[in-house]
């Protein structure tokens, strides 16, 4: 009995402490409905599942979703369980864009032939960076070229995390993974630069493409809504911090998302009907070391390599700013 009494007193103390902390206000205009339920098997601190949650909140219930094999598929659908409260299909790794193309074509034909009610339905395709920038690249290109009205979302955690952190073409230069370890021959770990997917998407001439990050959830939701409205394909590339794969503390995903954007490593921008526009322009970029600090995957970088990366990031940022400003003047 004595121990029970003391337990109660501990709880009371804790509660008193919590009350002193800043209360987080409910977000304005933030949809309360959930379309991916809790209880899924994502790692602690996963920002990717957060991105999925925000994307679906923005679209709402009238959606059909095709998902590639990967983290988000594995965590959400161990038969007979499902986390999805929207119609969802998974076929394979490299074909989310093609499966979505089929769904779009099928629903379009059925609506035209009056076999199903004429209801506005958003088709959403989603894959990780592996399923999008590597193995699913061709299917995605086909989907964009053919002009299907589909939102394709790449949730990019910068490696094959589901299979145990192997490098992809979206892994940034200097990051170590299990297949791009740092060593005498390959001092940087990943020795290649991240594939520029938004530029590739824009080169397809699709009406809308953008980058986003769940740290900036308002920006993310706004972009999804824009994508929903355009008549044709759209491509949204979302940086999704993976504490497990990046080797950062579990509670730091949001913070690292902010740093990625504010260092210029992952700028927030969009290309709407060919017009490039920066969505967040810090007065001055933070040095990339601030972003690298605390990330296990960058721990091996020396000053020379860091300086090399900094130069490249700065150059890329300047080019992006220039492009966006040129488009603004037009």
């Amino acid at each position: 009995m004595a121990s029970a009494v003391s337990d109660v007193s501990i709880t009371e103390t804790k509660m008193a402490e919590t009350e002193k902390k800043k209360v987080i206000k409910p977000l304005k205009n933030f949809p309360m409905e959930e379309y991916i339920n809790s209880g899924h098997r994502a790692c602690q601190g996963c920002a990717e599942v957060l991105a999925v949650r925000h994307v679906l909140k923005a679209i709402g219930p009238d959606v059909v979703m095709a998902m590639a094999t990967g983290c988000m598929e594995i965590i959400s659908s161990p038969y007979p369980y499902t986390s999805w409260t929207v119609p969802w299909i998974h076929i394979a790794f490299e074909n989310a864009a093609a499966v979505a193309s089929g769904i779009e074509a099928g629903l379009k034909a059925l609506k035209r032939k009056k076999r199903i009610p004429d209801k506005e339905i958003t088709i959403l395709a989603m894959g990780g960076d592996g399923g999008t920038t590597d193995i699913g690249f061709q299917a995605l290109s086909g989907m964009m070229e053919r002009g299907h009205k589909i939102i394709y979302v790449c949730v990019d955690n910068e490696a094959y995390m589901n299979t145990g952190i192997q490098r992809s073409s979206s892994t940034p230069f200097g990051a170590t993974t299990t297949t791009s370890p740092a060593g005498r021959v390959a001092p940087a770990g990943q020795m290649t630069w991240k594939k520029d997917m938004v530029a590739i998407a824009a080169a397809h001439g699709i009406p809308y493409t953008a980058t986003a990050c769940p740290t900036f959830y308002n920006d993310l939701q706004k972009k999804i809504l824009k994508a929903k409205e355009v008549d044709g394909p759209s491509y949204i590339h979302i940086l999704s911090v993976c504490p497990t794969g990046w080797r950062v503390p579990l509670h730091k995903a949001i913070e690292y998302g902010q740093l990625a954007v504010d260092t210029g490593v992952f700028p927030l921008y969009e290309v709407e009907n060919g017009v490039w526009k920066l969505n967040r322009k810090p007065k001055e970029l933070k040095p990339v070391v601030e972003y690298f600090k605390g990330q296990g995957r960058y721990r091996h970088l020396d000053d020379t390599l860091t300086a090399e990366i900094q130069d490249k990031i700065t150059a890329r940022w300047n080019r992006l700013v220039k492009m966006c400003e040129a488009d603004k003047e037009d």
């Binding site: 219930p61 009238d62 959606v63 059909v64 095709a66 598929e73 594995i74 659908s77 161990p78 038969y79 007979p80 369980y81 499902t82 999805w84 409260t85 929207v86 119609p87 969802w88 299909i89 998974h90 076929i91 394979a92 490299e94 074909n95 864009a97 093609a98 499966v99 979505a100 193309s101 089929g102 769904i103 779009e104 074509a105 099928g106 629903l107 379009k108 034909a109 059925l110 035209r112 032939k113 076999r115 199903i116 009610p117 209801k119 339905i121 061709q138 299917a139 290109s141 086909g142 070229e145 053919r146």
Partner: protein, 387 residues
């Protein structure tokens, strides 16, 4: 009754697909499948067919689009050949395991290497275990009729499985044959509208394609096996129904001059018509020989096959695919396994012939029969190797 016209088999098949009022066609061009999809593209472009024609960037995407559209509840068709089937093979297995109804026209062609655009059955044998209903066609009329039959079987709620129609490349796809056409009324009478069990639609939320832990995977595969076996009676039922409508009766196992036959030739596809000519000639010279045409490859019509083969002394299987380094070639292995437990089983010989478009004449078939009966090889015998 419909009208009989001389027409290229591929064009007729595409017309049949059009008559079925298909909703989505997704295909990637590959010889000798092209004429089918070209004609479908024309039908869509001219407005004769109200369907979405999705000109995909690969066969892998063709099958993926088909999975998406079938899951959305649309009547779905694709066509391919050899390398195309190889590329889509991953998704071919998924379509059946997820019980997605669709029809595939497979213009049978040899697999590379060396690259060959010509006919054999190595492509279809590569996906033998894919869990689809698989039928073979002997002539153009069969190909045409098979389209209606395939949609009916595939979309039947008791089946809900994809159906593959095997059509010998060039030997059938590119020949002009007299074909009796169906009328729209006949199709309407025969083929009910597609009413899928589950579809992807926000009004009724479903999750499709969940992953299977070890405790469920075996059960899922067992379910597919049961579903495929159960499709057998539906396949036959749909053929019987067609017979009432067209007067043409198809059977899973067809016999040709098998009365009192000591020797039987067993084959699938267009080679059967050639074999029947050889049988005629050999019968004329007094030999007791007949032919078995196996039309339904999956699910295998085991009872009918056993009944058809049990009385014979020798069975010569004409295999149009090779199993390098294996016990025997695919069709022969299947027949041997089936007959193993039969007390009065015949001798079963394998003749691999017609690979990569090598012509097989009635005379070749006579030579193969004689060779098999004289040599009594237990393994596969590759007929006609030069040098």
């Amino acid at each position: 009754m419909g009208q009989k016209v001389g027409i290229e088999v591929s064009i007729a098949a595409a017309d049949a697909v059009g008559l079925c009022d298909v909703d989505v066609v997704a295909a990637y061009p590959i010889t000798p499948q092209t004429h089918v999809v070209e004609h479908l593209a024309e039908l869509c472009a001219s407005g004769h067919l109200d369907a979405e024609f999705v000109p995909v960037e690969s066969e892998h995407s063709a099958m993926s689009v088909c999975c998406g559209s079938a899951a959305a509840g649309a009547r779905t068709f694709t066509a391919t050949s050899a390398q195309g089937l190889a590329l889509m093979a991953e998704i071919v297995y998924i379509a059946s395991s997820m019980r997605l109804p669709m029809v595939m026209f497979l213009a049978n062609r040899a697999l590379s290497a060396p690259l060959s655009i010509w006919n054999d059955h190595s492509d279809t044998m590569m996906v033998r275990d894919c869990g689809w209903v698989q039928v073979f066609c002997q002539n153009g009329q069969e190909v045409y009729d098979s389209i209606f039959h395939a949609f009916k079987v595939s979309e039947d709620k008791r089946v809900s499985l994809p159906v593959m129609i095997n059509v010998d490349g060039f030997a059938l796809t590119h020949v002009i044959e007299p074909i009796e056409f169906w009328t729209k009324e006949m199709v309407k009478q025969y083929l009910p509208p597609f009413q899928p069990i589950h579809t992807l639609h926000p009004d009724k939320v479903v999750t499709m394609g969940a992953f299977g832990m070890p405790e469920i995977y075996t059960e899922a595969k067992k379910a597919l096996d049961v579903a495929l076996w159960n499709s057998g009676p539906v396949v036959v039922e749909a053929w019987n129904e067609m017979a009432k409508l067209t007067g043409r009766q198809y059977l899973p196992v067809e016999k040709y001059r098998t009365e009192e036959a000591e020797t039987l030739i067993l084959a699938m596809g267009s080679i059967c018509e050639t074999a029947s000519l050889a049988v005629d000639e050999m019968r004329e010279s007094g030999r007791k020989i007949g032919m078995i045409n196996l039309r339904l490859w999956r699910p295998l019509p085991t009872e009918e096959l056993i009944k058809a083969l049990a009385g014979a002394r020798d069975v010569i299987v004409l295999d149009r695919a090779l199993t390098p380094g294996g016990a025997n070639s695919p069709l022969t292995s299947e027949i041997r396994t089936l007959m193993y437990a039969e007390p009065n089983r015949p001798n079963i010989y394998c003749m691999v012939a017609g690979l990569g478009g090598r012509d097989v004449t009635p005379n070749d078939i006579k030579v193969m029969v004689d060779t098999a009966l004289a040599d009594k090889h237990t393994g596969h015998y590759i007929y006609g190797v030069r040098g």
